[in-house]
Amino acid sequence: MAEELVSTLAELKEKEALKNVENRLNAGEDPLKILEDARRAMEIVGDRFASGEYFIPDLVYSGEILKEITDMVKPKLAETATETKRLAKVIMGTVIGDIHDIGKNLVVFFLDINGFEVIDLGVDVSSEKFVDAVRESGAHIVGLSGFLTLSFGGMKATVEALKEAGLRDSIKVMVGGGQIDERIRGYAGADAYGDNAIEAVSLAKQWIGG
């Protein structure tokens, strides 16, 4: 039963995966075990994306199936469910003026399945919000996403705001998305540019010494 969920979810077989969850819940199985299987399946999905076998629609679809599974399992979860230990906190957001989120969501997804605790600020995020989030969370990694060329300015303004707030030296900033490249990394004063979500994970791991 367990392996069946891992394989059906990883293969994006929605109906079979949901049926498996339903059967297991009806049989009284530990909901945490079901979620753990789903997590393993999502790791496979991530690996397949990294190797070029899966594409963005596969991630979106698997994410949708996972959401359905979580919704089914949630009511059965004990309130005392244990939090899994996370590697480090990462603040993510699409910079001010830009409401695109596909790339940003991919980075959030991959950081999450790789053990990071991601604080997702959403889209059109002001530099003040980034500063507040760093202060409140104590995170040491910030990811700035942007699709439009106007995000060139938003990224620079955000890095400057972090500097003015006295936080710049204690954090690492990565940038990426649409028209962003190494030149804009330099222009914005960020620490690194990542071409895709997999690179974002490598950067974050590198920065926490992992």
């Binding site: 594409f55 629609p57 106007l150 060139f152």
Partner: protein, 449 residues
Amino acid sequence: MFIYPENWNSLSPDEKMGARFEHWISGGGTKFATAEAEKTFRRHAQRIKDIVQLRKPDRVPCTPMADAYIAEYGGIRYGDMFYDAEKAAQAIIKFHRDFQPDYNMVMLGPGKMYDRLGMKTYRWPGGDLPMDTKSYQMVDSDYMREDEYDQLIADPEGFFMRTYMPRAFTALEGWRMLPTFFNAMEFPIVPMLTGVLATPPVREAFEAFLEAGQIAAEYMGTMAKITEEVVGKMGMPATMGGFWKVPYDIIGDTLRGTKGIMLDVYRQPDKVLAACERLVPIAIQMGIEGANASGVPIVIGVLHKGDDTFMSDAQFRKFYWPYFKQVMLGLMDEGIVPGALVEGRYNTRLDIIAESGLPAGKTFWQFDQTDMLAVKKKFGGWACFGGNVPTSMLLASTPQEIKDYCKNLIDSVGQDGGYFLAPGADIDMATPENMHAFIDVAREYGAYS
């Protein structure tokens, strides 16, 4: 404006294309201020015809695609381009006079018209974005629900008018109640159609639509003044005659949203395919209307959701390319040159496109981040291409770096003609020195011996 000659229907596609190019290159009815301006216009337009038909022109043409930067350079906010026609005209004219590009870039959007319609599908400076925002952008959402494919397929235009428009434009909500115009067939049921028009919601919607049309017409009247300067006096042709869309993008961008179509591809693939097929003639019609209105024979499809990462190879072959190709063929039949602005990366798609059997020398491809050496290898001798100068360079590089990058492109992929120098996307942020370097390099370095 391109007006069909009387014998249009008896012309072959090649003859139609010839007629459209001839009309465009001759100025298409433009009143040129000087003989020099006319000569300049003809030279620039001929250069585009040459590259489309895979010849070597006198030199490499350059199409800089400046957008929000035109406002910045002109000392106005980007929002002024939408809300102050006079300021917009001055900025556009100043940009063209100072930088002397080969081709004109004139884009005007009447802000008050979007306001009057209550357009919800975009955000723009002066709408709900600050006036100095350097871009407008679409609001990605599912304006068509997942169970509405059958309605779209049965009657795309009717669905768009009665279901999409009321959702996308606050002021057009009354259009939900529009009856079918087929009521006009029979004497006693004509009032079924006309009577509804008198009900307040429908009436208000039509009033808004009429007013929006009036605002647009007045705003676009400024175009005449700009055209007089930029085309009539400076001799700079436009290269984009209008727009078409890939059917998959019509559904993914406009109707179902990015997430919606990605799920539909798995959950109801047959509906997606049927809808794509149904939208082919509409996409062709968009291109024909654009080419006729502008008199420019090249119309552009901006490609969004077929990028290397946005779908698998198998999905591209099944959902994206067949209908994309049908639209291109349909436009060619009308003597129009279908162009594509290939956003993102298309490294894995080049073979599929180049080997699809589309005729040589009749299409136009501008790439964003695709590997240009691969493009040259696959498209060289088959279709004209250009693009790839990173927008980031215009802001964050030096003039010399830009010149070096462009020279390298010209040397490595532009030597055989059929090539134009262009950025990968619209230029919203730049420095004047960099813009000069980019526009000048084609003149200084791009001559064919």
